[in-house]
Point group: C2
Chain length 301, copies 2
């Protein structure tokens, strides 16, 4: 490990890391070193630029508190959070797609406060949300645990159907007073998320689904700061027109209405899909896969 | 920018970043997003692993203080610091190679304290260091500003020659009580740097040289925790045998001795080499280069 040059330094760092006994960690560091070095080598990163990156990362770390996670925010605005979720919770055709939680949902305490504030906002426009929960075969799913953010507490769930009263969501900015907000400025990007409502489904048989519904024609529909919008999750805001329906749910005629059917995949379906995707990803790297604890490593490394 | 999948998310993040007006920043983020996404996609990074990475980076940031830079330490142990230095200060054949400063030299105040402690260490073995400073044509370089760490203050410089009395350097560990030390443990790596002595040369005509001399046969000669050793910088520890030399420099016969000739490259030579290397790196990416403020960007991006 002498005479390290811009060309052979990568191989030498790999050798230094090669006696790590955890094969998965070893593989992750092998990939990290390859990409980190290429990221420096390709654009001929200068010392000044690298020091600016070091200072930026330091500030990101030091902006984190018990209620703010600036590194997750950074991950969000670079599309990494969405990517990790898509890999971890693959969705076959016909099932409801997942999406990012967004920066306000990393700490339960804040969620509650946030939701509570919004739901009691006297400016809020009342909204009725009526949903179904099905599996890929179209059968209703019972006993799912459902968490919804930005609603009040009056929710009902029965036999694969649930409904609740909330307020029509509005766009909001992600925290932009820290180093990540500054980067968004440098990149000439805005810091807004389109109007949306989060849903989380938990069930013994089904893969957890973390998703959100977005309102059609929102000004930020195609430019979400954290890349969360998917067209299958965009819903049209309707209005309650039937007097019987209005009475049944205790809202006024003319109240805003969202109807949606969520389709969950079983844990086994998700496991099978992750395996197939991992195999394909490893093949694309020219490697045979070994699968350890549900995660891939190269067969020979 | 809808229907983001594991495959098209990268392109969509690139589009979002594409209106950044600084071409160099735009190019760096383009490369960052490509490599960051590949780093997640290739090994099918799990949510749990990504959260562990987020927590690790947060701890690294929060370990940084006015006198400790844990992100530089992380950069050091991953070979990135050495790589950035090699790119920024390319050395043609025949010139003295540069190397990393190492984690103890990021803050002047600490350097002084560190150096002072070592030089007054009564356990230290006296060392005489006699050096020349030349250019590639073999001509002595006058008026270079030279900084040496781990020595006392009695240094002399004249007409391309300098000498000073110091103590024989010993191996030392990099800070290992933080998150980076933990990573070294996970990777089954030690935290030691081989015995060395830092030199920094500054001159109006010559490219700054930051380098170090390493002692031959040091136990960590081939496993420096921060990848700083280069064979051309490894020196044999000799002893002063001539009584005349001993008297001339005010040391005892038998005192440890290092002789070394440093060869500097001109700023213009370094500029030309950086340009050629940047052009080659861009060509390897299949791109034509445009050179702005001494740094490359793709001609069409």
């Amino acid at each position: 490990m002498l005479d390290l040059t811009t060309e052979n330094i990568t191989e030498n760092v790999q050798i230094a890391n090669s006696s790590c006994s955890d094969r998965r960690v070893r593989y992750l560091f092998e990939r990290l070193v390859v990409h980190l070095h290429d990221l420096v080598r390709e654009p001929r990163l200068s010392t000044e630029e690298w020091m600016a990156a070091i200072e930026f990362l330091t500030k990101v770390g030091q902006t984190c508190t018990d209620t703010r996670q600036e590194f997750i925010l950074l991950s969000d605005i670079l599309g990494v959070s969405l990517l990790v979720d898509a890999i971890d919770h693959p969705k076959p055709k016909g099932s409801t797609e997942g999406t990012v939680l967004g920066p306000f949902h990393t700490h339960e305490a804040e969620d509650v406060t946030n939701g509570a504030n919004i739901s009691t906002d006297p400016q809020g426009k009342p909204l009725l949300v009526i949903c179904k929960v099905r599996n890929l075969a179209g059968q209703p799913i019972e006993n799912a645990r459902i968490d919804v953010w930005e609603t009040d507490s009056k929710g009902f769930y029965d036999d694969g159907n649930f409904w609740f009263k909330a307020i029509v969501p509005v766009p909001y900015p992600i925290p932009s007073d820290g180093p990540v907000g500054k980067i968004l400025g440098t990149l000439n990007r805005h810091c807004y998320r389109p109007s949306h409502m989060h849903f989380m489904f938990d069930h013994p048989v089904y893969d957890p689904l973390i998703t959100a519904l977005y309102l059609k024609n929102d000004p930020y529909e195609t430019s979400d700061a954290v890349f969360g919008v998917k067209s299958t999750l965009v819903v049209e805001l309707k209005t309650v027109q039937d007097k019987g329906i209005a009475e049944q749910y205790g809202v006024d005629v003319g109240c805003a209405l969202i109807n949606y059917e969520f389709v969950l995949v079983t844990k086994q379906e998700a496991i099978d899909m992750r395996y197939r995707n991992a195999e394909a990803a490893m093949k694309a790297q020219g490697k045979q896969m070994q699968y350890i604890n549900g995660l891939p490593v190269p067969d020979i490394d």
